[in-house]
Each structure stands twice: as C-alpha cells, then as structure tokens.
C-alpha cells in the first residue's frame, strides 16, 4: 500500500512525515517540498511524476540520505535518518539504498566488473565472494559477457544496466531511480523498464522511480504527482 495522507499505520517500510525542504538562493527562499507525506510498503513500485523543477530529485535525495530536510522526518525500516550523523548516514546508505541515475554515473577508468564491485569493497566480503556477487548481478542484468568492458565500450542501455547491477549488488532495502530511461532511446528504455519490473516481481525489490516518461510510469504499481510541494495520487501536474 502506498499513501500520501500521512495516515499510515506505522508499519510501512518507508514513512515520510511533514517533510519540508527550502533552498536559499541569494536573498530568495524557495520552498520546494512543503509538508510532504508518504508511506511505501516493502515490494512496492512507485513512480513520481511532475514538471521540471517540482522537486522530484530533491525528494529522492532526501529519501536516500544524500541531503537533509529543513523539517519533518523520514523513517526507513525503523531508522529515523534525518538526525543521523554524517558518518552514520553514509553507512546507512551503503547498507540500505541503491541509486540509479539518468546519466549512469559509472567510473570511466573501471571496467563493468570494477564498477559493480565498488559497493562491495566497503564490505567484509572476500575477493572470491565479491567476484561471485558481481558475476551474479551482471548475469541478472544480462551482461555476463561484458565483465571486462569499460563504460566507453558499452551502449547507453548497457551502461545503465551496469549501473543497475551496481545498485543491487549489495542487496539494498530499496532502490531510488532518477529518470533511469531519460537518456535512452525507446527500445533501450523498454529493456531497462523490463529489468526494473523483474527486480520488483522476481526479486522482491522496493523501487521508487522519478520519470517524465508515461510509458515508464505505466509499469509502476502507483503513480504519484508532485504538485506544489506535496504528493497527490492520480492525474495531477502531468509530465
């Protein structure tokens, strides 16, 4: 179940309450999020839509602990993350969140294998175990034959699949995707969305995805619109 009225029963995986985010730009103050509420259960697949500048990326950054809100709380699997110290938050992020960005953001000097291995370097896994995990997830995204390729040797769709493998390799609690198909052609976008859907249905992942693409949004269980700083269900601001 996904709710945006702040009246969840307190058992949801992700609970957001009265979230405010203001940015200071010179003397001007911009209220991007204003009292936003959200409840997401484990295994949900949510799409966020909304016009450019409505605060979608801002919301994802807050959910992933990359930024701190001006007010309100975010609780994930019982952890209140808005009051964590920077180092605790970093550790929490490594443990619970997988990020997928529009621009893939792979490290150009590392191979597909090296990129996917990155999050595992921070764990206690042995070299052999790391290799096993990396090969397994590259198999899931269908790139078993591209282990030693560098990002520049891959197509955009393949790069994004490497990025997805990197996001899921440490088995995070949930995935945050910011316009994962925004830079891809129709066909590659379809393939990426097939993959995301499989992650939800076959691997039980919880996915929160920002998108401008109605076809991508269609795949989600729930589509939410960001409008004037809060989330609304159903038809809203449009894409």
């Amino acid at each position: 179940m996904v709710r945006v009225d702040g009246k969840g029963n307190g058992e949801s995986l992700i609970q957001v309450r009265d979230l405010d985010k203001k940015y200071q730009r010179g003397s001007e103050e911009i209220d991007v999020l204003q009292g936003l509420n959200l409840d997401v259960d484990k295994g949900d697949f949510v799409a966020f839509m909304g016009p450019s500048g409505s605060g979608k990326t801002t919301l994802l950054n807050l959910l992933g602990g990359l930024d701190l809100p001006s007010a309100g709380s975010i609780t994930v699997a019982g952890d209140e993350i808005t009051h964590m110290s920077a180092s605790k938050l970093t550790a929490w992020r490594a443990r619970h969140v997988g990020f997928i960005f529009q621009m893939y953001n792979l490290i150009p000097v590392l191979t597909a294998f090296g990129n996917v291995e990155l999050p595992l370097l921070l764990t206690r896994l042995s070299k052999a175990d790391r290799r096993r995990h990396v090969e397994a997830v590259l198999g899931v995204v269908g790139l078993s034959d591209r282990l030693d390729h560098y990002p520049r040797q891959l197509s955009g769709g393949q790069e994004q699949r490497v990025a997805i493998a990197r996001a899921i390799v440490a088995d995070p609690t949930f995935l945050l995707c910011d316009e994962p198909t925004g830079d891809l052609d129709r066909k590659s976008a379809e393939e990426i969305m097939d993959l995301v859907e499989r992650l939800v249905h076959e691997h039980g992942k919880t996915v929160l995805m920002v998108t401008h693409d109605p076809r991508a949004a269609e795949r989600a269980h729930t589509v939410l619109h960001l409008d004037k700083g809060v989330l609304v269900e159903g038809a809203g601001g449009g894409a």
């Binding site: 990326t57 950054n61 992933g64 990359l66 930024d67 920077a86 180092s87 970093t90 550790a91 992020r93 490594a94 443990r95 990020f99 960005f101 621009m103 953001n105 792979l106 490290i107 150009p108 000097v109 590392l110 090296g114 990155l118 999050p119 370097l121 921070l122 070299k127 990197r166 440490a170």
Partner: protein, 379 residues
C-alpha cells in the same frame, strides 16, 4: 589492498599527466641527492667527525704552529687517552692544479687516533720502516693512478725544494663517507729536512677516553697554555671541521636555499595537478560517496594517489642520484667526499612523500567535504 586498484586506475587515467608529475618528483629528488652530496663534500667531514676527538690549534690562527713540547703536557691532562699531531705541507704535484692535501703525521700514533683509516698490516709495517714512506688515500690513488712502490715527487712551497716520497700503502675508510683524498707522510722526515719551523707541529689531535668529558678537557688544555707565547684553541673535531668549511663560503646556506625553492615549486606543481585531478572527477567522487564511501575514505584515496606519485618519482630521482654519485666525483678528486648516504636517501624519500601528502591534502579535504546532492546536480 582492494582499494589499491582504484587508486591505480585513477593514476592510469591521464598517463601523460601522471608521468609528468612523477617526472617533477624525479627531477627534484635527483637535484636533492646532488645537493646533499655537495653539501657533504663541503662540510669538510663535519658529518663524520669523531665525537671522541678534539683538535688543538694555535689560538691566533690555524696556520700558526704549536711547540712540540705540548704533546706530553696534553697527554697528562685527565680524560685524554691519546694524542697525535700533523703539519700541513702544501706541496705541489707536477702542477698547481693537481691540488690535494698532504700532511706530515706521527707514524706511531696517527692510526691509533684515526681508527677510521684502514691499512693492510704489511703496508703499515712498510710505512714504519722507511723514513721517506708515504700513504695515499684510496681516492687520491685512483685520481693519479698511484700504486704501492711508486716514487712520488712533490715541490715544496712552505719548505721549498724537491721532496721525494715512496708510496708504501693505500689507506681506505672504514665507511664510504671517510675522506681518502689526502696524502700522509712521516713527520720525522719533514722535521729532519726542513730549514725552519723545527720543534713545532701544525696542530694536535686529542682522543678522549669518554666523549662526555669534551668540555672539561677542552677547558683544562686551553687554561694550561694561557698566557704562554703559544696559546691554544681546543675544539671538538666537528666544530673544527665546520669552521674549516666556513672558509669555503656559506655552501650550507646556498644548498638549503636552492633545496627549499625546489621543494616549494614541487609542492605548487603537484598541488595544482591534484586540484585539477579532483575537480574533473567531482561527479565520480559523488558516486563513490553515494555508494557508501565515507568522507575520510575519499580523502584517503586522494592522499594515496598523491603519495604514490611522489613515492615513485622520489624513488627514481634518488636512485639516479645514487647512481650518479657512485660514478665518482665529477671534479676528479677535488671534493673531500662525494657520497650520498642511505640516511640522506631515506630523508629525501620522506620529504618526497611529505610533499605528496601536503599537495594532496587540500584537494582531498575538498573532496571529503563535497556534498553529494550538489555535486550530482553539477554533472
């Protein structure tokens, strides 16, 4: 170790830039090696001076002599375990430009006090047998090709005339730093033949039973000869060597100045390179932090990168400098010692690593403080 690959991959990303930065360290540390060697050569052996030795010279001037009779009086000073003496000869071998120092020394006591000179037993015995015997230092012998049994003519300048010596042996140092560019011959031969100055020596060298007594013994000797026609100035050998080197001009200052400028420039160049390297990687650093690398972790990666560059360049530069000095003194023996010690090499390596770390610290801290949300927006 698993992070090493990450650092290495970054270094290989801009090979030309990495190579040039390593090259800067190579050049700087090569220069450092040469400067340290030259400084050592001009310090007149101050670095290898025995801590248990004092030099007694004429208080008025180093070139004024002291009476031979002082020898026994110095020997009686408590704390003194040995005395020897020497006189500067100042002869010319074939041509003025073939300068090397020559000393008339006491055949019986010289090697007791200067234990760092080593000489085969038979050569030492030959030196004791022949009044006209002389001993050439190893580098001197190499410079002019002297061999045992050679006859060595010198033209006297202080004591004019033709002087002839027989090369009875070649002495070496027990450490590479020991100066072996000089010639030793027997004082008794000089005393017998010279026209003036009889009954005097150039200076005395005193060996202490215990180095801690240096101050006390120094004072006792100088007070004992106060108000005599030949007042003395007693110094530790190190102070003596340093004062002697000062006559060459302030080489130390020159070397330190050049060295500081070199390292400062190196710091600026490397600091700038690291700053650029970090700036063009802002997005990637943000990704590292996103997947869970901590601020200090990112700082450590950047420091490791800078220190790795510095270490590599430093090693190559110091290695080249060492090779260069092993090739021998480029002035062909004019410099007392031409030796780059392991201690100096170690210090140079530490300096290189230090410069690397300092150069990496500012960009590293910037990376550590980088706010992921802002950085991702910039990509």
């Amino acid at each position: 170790m698993k992070f090493f690959r990450l650092v290495l991959a970054q270094l290989l990303r801009k090979k030309v830039r990495t190579t040039l930065t390593i090259g800067s360290f190579t050049v700087a540390l090569f220069l450092y090696g040469l400067l340290v060697t030259i400084r050592g050569a001009f310090s007149g052996g101050a670095d290898v001076a025995g801590v248990d030795r004092l030099t007694v010279i004429n208080k008025t001037s180093l070139i004024m002599p002291l009476p031979f009779s002082y020898r026994d009086r110095i020997l009686r000073v408590p704390g003194v375990s040995g005395v020897t003496y020497a006189t500067w000869f100042g002869g010319v071998y074939q041509d003025e430009k073939n300068f090397f120092p020559q000393f008339g020394v006491d055949k019986d006591t010289w090697f007791d006090v200067y234990a760092e000179y080593v000489l085969p037993k038979d050569q030492r015995e030959a030196f004791l047998r022949d009044r006209q015997a002389c001993l050439a230092g190893k580098s001197l012998a190499k410079r002019f090709g002297f061999k045992v049994g050679d006859r060595l003519p010198l033209r006297g300048t202080i004591w004019p005339g033709a002087w002839e010596f027989n090369v009875a042996g070649i002495y070496e140092g027990n450490r590479p730093e020991v100066d072996t560019t000089g010639l030793l011959f027997r004082f008794d031969y000089l005393e017998e033949r010279r026209q003036f100055g009889k009954g005097t020596v150039g200076w005395y060298v005193v060996r202490l039973a215990n180095p801690d007594d240096a101050v006390k013994v120094t004072r006792t000797i100088d007070e004992g000869f106060a108000n005599s026609p030949f007042e003395t100035l007693t110094q530790t050998e190190k102070a003596f060597a340093t004062a002697f080197a000062k006559q060459m001009g302030n080489i130390e200052f020159l070397v330190m100045t050049i060295g500081s400028v070199v390292f400062f420039t190196l710091l600026l160049v490397t600091g700038n390179t690291m700053a650029i390297a970090v700036r063009e990687r802002t997005g990637e650093l943000a990704v590292l932090k996103t997947v869970g690398f901590s601020g200090p972790g990112v700082l450590a990666l950047i420091l490791a990168e800078a220190v790795l560059i510095a270490g590599q360049g430093g090693l190559i530069g110091l290695g080249l400098a060492k090779l260069f000095t092993l090739g021998g003194d480029p002035t062909r023996g004019l410099l007392g010692t031409f030796y780059l010690s392991w201690g100096s090499l170690g210090l140079g390596f530490m300096l290189a690593l230090g410069v690397g770390a300092v150069a990496g610290i500012l960009p590293g801290v910037a990376a550590m403080r980088l706010r992921v949300a802002d950085a991702l927006r910039r990509v």
